[in-house]
């Protein structure tokens, strides 16, 4: 039972005459639709800028394709170092027999930065004990994929790391 008995009664028209019941209902439906639609549009108008604001803008980044690391003599055999490659860390390894290798230093498991583990001769991630061999292949622990390989070029005595094309 409605607390307002005249809720569905015919609405008085502007001219003072009663509008038939169906017409009143239609008008009510139209108003409901307009108000509801307006409300949804209003929500969208508020939510869209807010959500767009939350998304960090793309920073213009200089695409780095090669990085000079240093002189051969400065890099000892059987050692590894992290090289800043644009905004990404790359690990440069010089094996015991003097060969250079470079890989992305970002562990494929959960984004930690790997290191060269001398005693085991592997690339090791301290976060979850993931291991890669010196070709970047994931050999033990949770990493699901091998490390991305980079090219190392030695020109004269200068060592550079390049992105593989």
């Amino acid at each position: 039972m409605s607390s307002r008995p005249d809720e569905f009664a015919p609405l008085p028209s502007a001219s003072g005459q009663n509008v038939p019941l169906e017409a009143g209902q239609e008008r009510r439906d139209f108003l409901k639709l307009a108000l509801g639609g307006g409300f949804i549009a209003w929500i969208a108008a508020v939510a869209y800028p807010v959500f767009s604001y939350l998304k960090p803008p793309k920073q213009a980044e200089v695409e780095v394709t090669s990085v000079k690391v240093g002189k051969i003599a400065e890099i000892g055999k059987d050692s590894g170092m992290i090289v800043r490659f644009g905004s990404k860390p790359v690990i440069l390894i010089r094996t015991a027999d003097g060969e250079f290798r470079a890989f992305s230093a970002t562990c494929t498991h959960l984004d930690c930065t790997v290191q060269y583990k001398k005693d085991l001769g592997v690339i090791w991630c301290a976060c979850h004990n993931g291991k890669y061999d010196l070709t970047g292949r994931n050999i033990s622990g949770p990493p699901p994929r091998p490390l991305e390989e980079y090219r190392v070029i030695v020109q004269g005595d200068e060592v550079s790391v390049l992105k593989k094309t």
């Binding site: 960090p56 959960l110 984004d111 699901p144």
Partner: protein, 357 residues
């Protein structure tokens, strides 16, 4: 009461009918039984939260939330500001004790089945506050911008990125970009000092109002033979509460003074993750589990599966009042205890493994 105080009370009562509230408090009783001790842990968590708000505001006076200045500003707080070392140490220790108190509170409520009808909403708000507490811990951990925090945040946000479909955008939203940078620090700082406290306070008000309105839950099967004993909330229970708070404050002071919280080394995004890195103890069991998950299980990435399982388990746990139909009917089902014991044992074993391995 002294005369001016009495006059003020009368003045206030005339306007806001405070005597109703006083009467309500006076009539509130706390059940006394052999499980009553568990009633205190919610109060302890509340007390520690108040300490966090207070020390947090103090830290805000000197902390600078930027990549270049965060680490140095905490160094400054700890070495130059008078009692800065104490305030920061208390904030760090109280954060850990808060999680501990909240976890004990949560498990005691679980094992007593106090979440049952009519207290489902109290359970839900409590669980959400516990999750938020973990969020507080995770976001606050990054703020010193040290080496451990940097990699913990990399791993933690990468875990969010593992979630199918929404994961990647969520990770970028959390990090403020593709990588963990100063942008991440700014966001976490905002979450930690504004967003989370706001939501937490809202949930806390609901939680406390419900506890006051519905009274303390009594364990199932208690009302059988013997007479029910109670204790007035005011002042008997409250004085016990306050005494315990005092003890907690002393424990906190001893910990903060004799085991000051370390700052570690400043984060370097171009350094390897240091050996022995691990998250805070309350994330250890998940951390350790992830170490054991193989890279691929059937057609799924191991990490997706591992993280997915924890997510599902958390959701089932959150919804326990709605699937445990027995306790709402006043029956004490054994399976709830077995599940609970299983979860506690799992968490304990993996935490210990994570700690010592």
């Amino acid at each position: 009461m002294k005369k001016p105080l009495r006059k003020f009370y009368a003045w206030l009562d005339e306007r806001v009918k405070i005597s109703d509230l006083v009467q309500f408090m006076g009539k509130k009783y706390v059940p006394v039984h052999r499980h009553s001790v568990w009633y205190y842990f919610g109060g302890v968590a509340l007390f520690l939260f108040i300490i966090q708000v207070t020390t947090g505001i103090l830290l805000l006076l000197y902390y600078k939330g930027s990549e270049q200045l965060a680490f140095e500003s905490i160094q400054f707080i700890m070495s130059k500001v008078q009692f800065g070392w104490l305030v920061r140490s208390i904030h760090s220790w109280a954060a850990n004790l808060f999680i501990l108190a909240a976890v004990i509170h949560m498990f005691s409520v679980y094992f007593e089945r106090s979440y049952r009808n009519p207290r489902e909403i109290t359970w839900l708000t409590g669980m959400l506050m516990l999750f938020l507490g973990l969020g507080f811990g995770f976001s606050g951990y990054l703020l010193p911008w040290n080496e451990l925090a940097f990699f913990a945040t990399k791993v933690g946000t990468d875990i969010a990125g593992v979630i199918p479909v929404v994961g990647k955008p969520l990770m970028i939203f959390l990090r403020g970009g593709e990588d963990v940078t100063g942008a991440t620090l700014s966001r976490f700082f905002g979450f930690h000092v504004a967003l989370f406290p706001g939501i937490f306070t809202f949930l806390l008000v609901i939680h406390l109002v419900l506890v006051q309105r519905q009274g303390m839950s009594e364990p199932l099967g208690l009302d059988a033979a013997h007479e029910r004993k109670t204790m007035p909330f005011f002042p008997n229970f409250m004085l016990r509460d306050v005494l315990l708070w005092l003890i907690v404050l002393n424990v906190l002071a001893v910990l903060a003074v004799f085991f000051p919280w370390e700052l570690g080394r400043k984060a370097d995004p171009f350094a390897s993750a240091p050996a022995g890195i691990r998250p805070e103890w309350y994330f250890l069991f998940m951390f350790q589990s992830l170490k054991y998950v193989p890279p691929r299980i059937l057609f799924l990435d191991g990490e997706v599966l591992g993280i997915g399982l924890f997510g599902v388990a958390g959701l089932i746990w959150l919804l326990v009042p709605f699937w445990d139909r027995k306790s709402s009917r006043g029956l004490r089902g054994k399976e709830i205890s077995y599940i609970g014991i299983g979860v506690v044992v799992y968490i304990l074993v993996f935490t210990i493994l994570g700690w010592f391995l």
